[in-house]
């Protein structure tokens, strides 16, 4: 066999699989979305029907809140862990990255253990502190799986920063606040934008966590799920999926243009 032919043969399993299980299904999903009663106007319906528009805005709102919180928390923790050596540091890092392998449903359950009817907060306080099934509970769930992802990106970026720059700034009399604001933050900015986009996209598409917690909250993945299973409104479920998929994909393309990494979706 000619070497060229062999290399081409190596692509064959990938191409067959990708055509059958990625390309054709995605085309079919799009065709399904425009072959309902509404035709192409279904996409107009997405942005004009209050139920879908509210869900879209609500999802964007909670994802944005999670992204900001995850960036603030993970940058604070990441800088601390990257710039200080102490006993137990590795242990803390393990604890903080452990949730990477937790599926969204498990994270939802963990939030229920914190804020559900039998939850920790309801037990240690006298009042009825039940927040697991509220917007705040959902926010905490999304935050739970966002922190490890953002943290790893921040720490990897911090390691690439030159500590000599910080030393120089300090020796010139800059205080901690100014070192962070003028030296560290500009250096981290591209990674923070990338990590933020990943956190945002992941939160937008998170199904498992919403499935356990958002019984009364309309976030986009839950609306898609109920349209498909309860209302059997296939065209709308497909159209919303196309919108959601396009948004998250575009965000990750932007993220990649800022830094070379993309982390796993999930949640």
């Amino acid at each position: 066999m000619r070497p060229n032919a062999f290399v081409q043969l190596c692509f064959l399993p990938l191409i067959i699989f990708t055509l059958a299980f990625l390309a054709l299904p995605l085309v079919r999903l799009f065709v399904s979305s425009v072959s309902g009663e509404d035709g192409w106007s279904i996409y107009w319906k997405v942005v004009t029907t209050p139920r879908y528009l509210d869900a879209l805005l609500q999802t964007v709102f909670v994802s944005l809140a999670v992204t900001i919180a995850a960036l603030v928390i993970s940058t604070t923790v990441g800088l601390f862990l990257a710039r200080n050596e102490f006993r137990g540091r590795g242990m803390i890092l393990s604890v903080l990255t452990l949730p990477l392998a937790f599926p969204g449903v498990v994270i939802g359950f963990l939030i229920i253990l914190l804020g559900g009817r039998q939850g920790l907060f309801n037990q240690i306080t006298s009042g009825h502190v039940v927040f697991a099934y509220t917007m705040f509970g959902l926010f905490l769930g999304y935050l739970y799986f966002s922190i490890p992802r953002v943290l790893l990106t921040v720490m990897a970026a911090t390691e690439k920063l030159d500590p000599a720059l910080e030393e120089a700034a300090r020796s010139l009399g800059a205080g901690s606040f100014h070192v962070i604001k003028d030296v560290i933050m500009p250096g981290l900015a591209p990674s923070l934008v990338a990590a933020g986009a990943i956190a945002f996209a992941t939160a937008m598409g998170a199904f498992g966590t919403a499935f356990t917690l958002a019984t009364n909250i309309d976030v986009l993945p839950m609306v898609i799920y109920t349209e498909f299973t309860l209302s059997a409104n296939i065209a709308m479920a497909a159209a919303l999926s196309v919108v959601l998929g396009l948004v998250t994909w575009l965000l990750l393309v932007i993220a990649r243009s800022f830094s070379g990494t993309t982390a796993a979706a999930g949640g």
Partner: protein, 263 residues
């Protein structure tokens, strides 16, 4: 370590974050071995709930392990040769292809599952068999295998190595087995552990693709959260942790090792 105000703030945030991530995890571990969670640990410790989980959900645990192994075999067969091809033929076609197969990382699992259901939902034999879930798992994990192997292969001077072997008379298949695979091993190992870890924990696709007779571990978890008492749900979560945490640690070790080689 000198304690300044910003540093104290950093320590406080780190502590609260660790508590936020760790406390509910420990709660669920504890609840899984407590006789009555509502009364607290004072009601005694027991393995009864774990036993109950085993009676109710052993099938789902075995199905998940079986799926993960099958998924690993598929991603190896599809992913390793593909990564080799991508490494040997860098160019815009390869970049577009790599970008395209990475779509499942960006598109939410729910949307992918709907797409698969739209296309194959009416093929009853396939729809109701475990291979339908397998297709979803391979779709989701394949990009991790390809990227992991490609990262290692792209820093090796494959061309020179292969030309050397070719001049000694080794054919393409022989070179693939004796040069490419051994050199790519750290990437294959890291990719394999990632694939198994992700497959065992996959919920978003699987929830849409599963049938009542084919429940995977995370599907069973969702089921137990909705319909079982808190102790059983916690015990099941504990079983999941026992499987997934060692896998995650092995995965992180292998990925760091592969990354060091790829640098």
């Amino acid at each position: 370590m000198k304690l300044t105000l910003p540093k104290m703030l950093q320590i406080a945030v780190t502590f609260v974050t660790c508590a936020f991530l760790l406390v509910p995890t420990l709660q669920s571990v504890l609840a899984g071995v407590t006789v009555n969670y509502f009364k607290g640990v004072s009601s005694g410790l027991t393995l009864k709930w774990i036993g109950r989980v085993w009676e109710l959900y052993a099938d789902s645990i075995f199905l998940s392990i079986w799926l993960a192994i099958a998924c690993l075999v598929c991603t190896l067969i599809i992913g390793v040769p593909a990564a080799y091809g991508l490494a040997r033929r860098p160019g815009w076609v390869s970049r577009v292809l790599e970008e395209f197969i990475s779509l499942p990382l960006a598109i939410p699992g729910l949307a992918l599952a709907l797409a698969l259901l739209q296309l194959y939902g009416s093929m009853k034999g396939f729809r109701t068999s475990w291979t339908f879930i397998l297709a979803g798992h391979v779709l989701y994990t394949l990009p991790f295998m390809v990227r992991s192997v490609l990262a290692v292969l792209s820093v090796i001077d494959l061309k020179t190595l292969e030309e050397g072997a070719a001049s000694l008379g080794a054919g393409p298949w022989r070179r693939f087995c004796d040069i490419v695979v051994p050199n790519a091993m750290p990437g294959i190992l890291a990719g394999a552990l990632t694939v198994v870890t992700l497959s065992i924990g996959e919920f978003n696709l699987t929830w849409m693709l599963h049938t009542p007779y084919l429940k995977t571990l995370p599907v069973g978890l969702a089921d137990s959260y909705a319909s079982m008492r808190l102790e059983v749900a916690s015990a099941y979560t504990l079983v999941f942790f026992v499987i997934i945490v060692p896998l995650l640690m092995a995965m992180q070790w292998a990925s760091n090792r592969a990354q060091r080689i790829a640098q």
